[in-house]
């Protein structure tokens, strides 16, 4: 990801600057797509979802938060959109916030043929291990360890207590490490 002057880009996008919006899309497309992929686990669905997220961002660009609050807000928008997308895929009525149990039901963890091919490399192995986590643990690891948000920001985005994020993050990392080791062993044996 090339470095950009994010505050300037955000300000120009808020003012309706077309080239700034294009720069924003090109800069964040990989990140938004990766986040969408972590929710839906399928490249085609992730592309549609990422486009929806960008459309939502474009529609609300006049209300973008400025400064340090922008990235957490972007992730919150992307997360809410992803949950809504999963709900629609399951033909469910959208609601404001998805709880932990609901997320467990929403996420489809069955790997597709494409994802099986992708999992042939190390990244694919990590994705496979992530998909094996529970939905809330996966969200915490993705937001905290993959995208580098702080514990407070993760708690705010997921609307759960700070202590829950800390304890969950600890257990989720251990669980992920176990799954990675298990998958690695399984591949080396085959």
């Amino acid at each position: 990801m090339d470095p950009i002057d994010l505050p300037t880009i955000v300000d120009r996008c808020r003012a309706g600057d077309g080239p700034a919006w294009e720069a924003f899309v090109r800069h964040f497309q990989g990140r938004v797509f990766a986040l969408a992929y972590s929710y839906v686990g399928d490249r085609e669905d992730a592309r549609d979802l990422a486009q929806e997220i960008f459309l939502r961002l474009y529609e609300t660009r006049a209300q973008w938060l400025a400064g340090d609050e922008f990235l957490p807000w972007l992730f919150r928008v992307a997360r809410n959109r992803s949950v809504d997308y999963l709900r629609r895929k399951k033909v469910r009525t959208p609601a404001a916030t998805a709880g932990e149990e609901e997320m467990e039901r929403l996420v489809d963890t069955a790997p597709t043929a494409e994802t099986r091919v992708l999992e042939s490399d190390r990244r694919g192995l990590l994705h496979a291990a992530l998909r094996g986590l529970s939905a809330i643990n996966r969200e915490i690891v993705v937001l905290r360890d993959v995208h580098g948000l702080s514990v407070q920001q993760v708690a705010s985005i997921l609307a759960i207590p700070l202590g829950t994020v800390k304890s969950r993050a600890s257990r989720a990392r251990i669980e992920l490490a176990e799954r990675v080791l298990a998958l690695s062993r399984g591949r080396s044996e085959t």
């Binding site: 990140r31 006049a62 993050a169 990392r173």
Partner: protein, 257 residues
């Protein structure tokens, strides 16, 4: 060295989130647990005392600690690489095309303009404009059909006059047919002729026309009064700005003297 290894292992067990691995490898941890009875006891006490981990089967905790402390460092270094994925060729263009086709409303003026254009681009907008224009015309200037001496009452009167012959002949034919084929019914249905009743459609039309005429007269009266007031005000303003010249008359009077 031993004390620092104990501290690192315990810190990693207590809070693997903040101190993943504690700098220890899996063989280090295993060797240390074999040689350090304090840490074995501590780990056992930790296992028993930690409510969240009480349900772990015997030996599972040690395995989990191993997994967490040995592979976690590398894993945490690898995870940020997943923050970006290539969405494939043409994705940004697709997004930009979608957003260019649906411009987002920024302020109230943009929203107003967008709403106006959405209204104008509807197929029936021309019909609506024509309807509103005709209503306004009739309210202000009266019924143009009547003004051309071709109102509905004129039409109905002309139609009644022209069609009276054929209609009465047709009525006589129908009456004779009824008397021939349904004599009882014809007698029962033949009511005595009463006063002539005007067609209700024509009555409604005439009543509406009278209402419209009254409304038009009111509007015209109001507009005339308003124009009189405005024109008087304009005249006064013009008089103030450009006062009527009196000097030439004075000079003329002096020259006459």
């Amino acid at each position: 060295m031993i004390a620092s290894t104990c501290d690192a292992l315990r810190a990693a067990v207590i809070d693997p989130l903040e101190r993943p691995g504690g700098g220890l490898t899996r063989p280090d941890v295993a060797a240390h647990l074999r040689n350090c009875p304090d840490c074995r006891d501590w780990l056992e006490a930790f296992r028993k005392g930690t409510a969240a981990w009480e349900t772990e089967p015997s030996g599972a905790l040690a395995d989990r600690v191993m997994a967490a402390t040995t592979g976690l460092d590398d894993l945490l270094r690898e995870l940020p690489a997943l923050a970006e994925m290539d969405p494939g060729p043409g994705f940004a263009e697709r997004v930009l095309l979608a957003t260019s086709q649906s411009p987002a409303p920024d302020g109230w003026h943009t929203r107003l303009a967008a709403a106006w254009w959405a209204l104008v681009r509807r197929p029936r907008f021309a019909w609506e404009v024509a309807y509103v224009a005709i209503v306004c015309w009739v309210l202000i200037f009266g019924n143009p059909v009547r003004a051309w001496e071709w109102g509905a009452s004129t039409v109905t009167a002309a139609a009644r006059e022209r069609l009276s012959g054929p209609v009465s002949e047709l009525g006589a034919d129908v009456e004779s047919w009824r008397q021939r084929w349904m004599p009882g019914e014809a007698q029962a249905g033949s009511a005595p002729p009463g006063p002539r009743v005007e067609n209700p459609v024509v009555q409604a039309w005439q009543a509406g026309a009278r209402q419209i005429e009254r409304a038009r007269a009111s509007v015209v009266r109001i507009m005339e009064a308003a124009w009189t007031g405005v024109s008087g005000w304009i005249r006064r303003v013009v008089d103030v700005i450009f006062p009527p010249r009196t000097e030439p008359d004075a000079e003329a009077a002096r020259s006459a003297q």
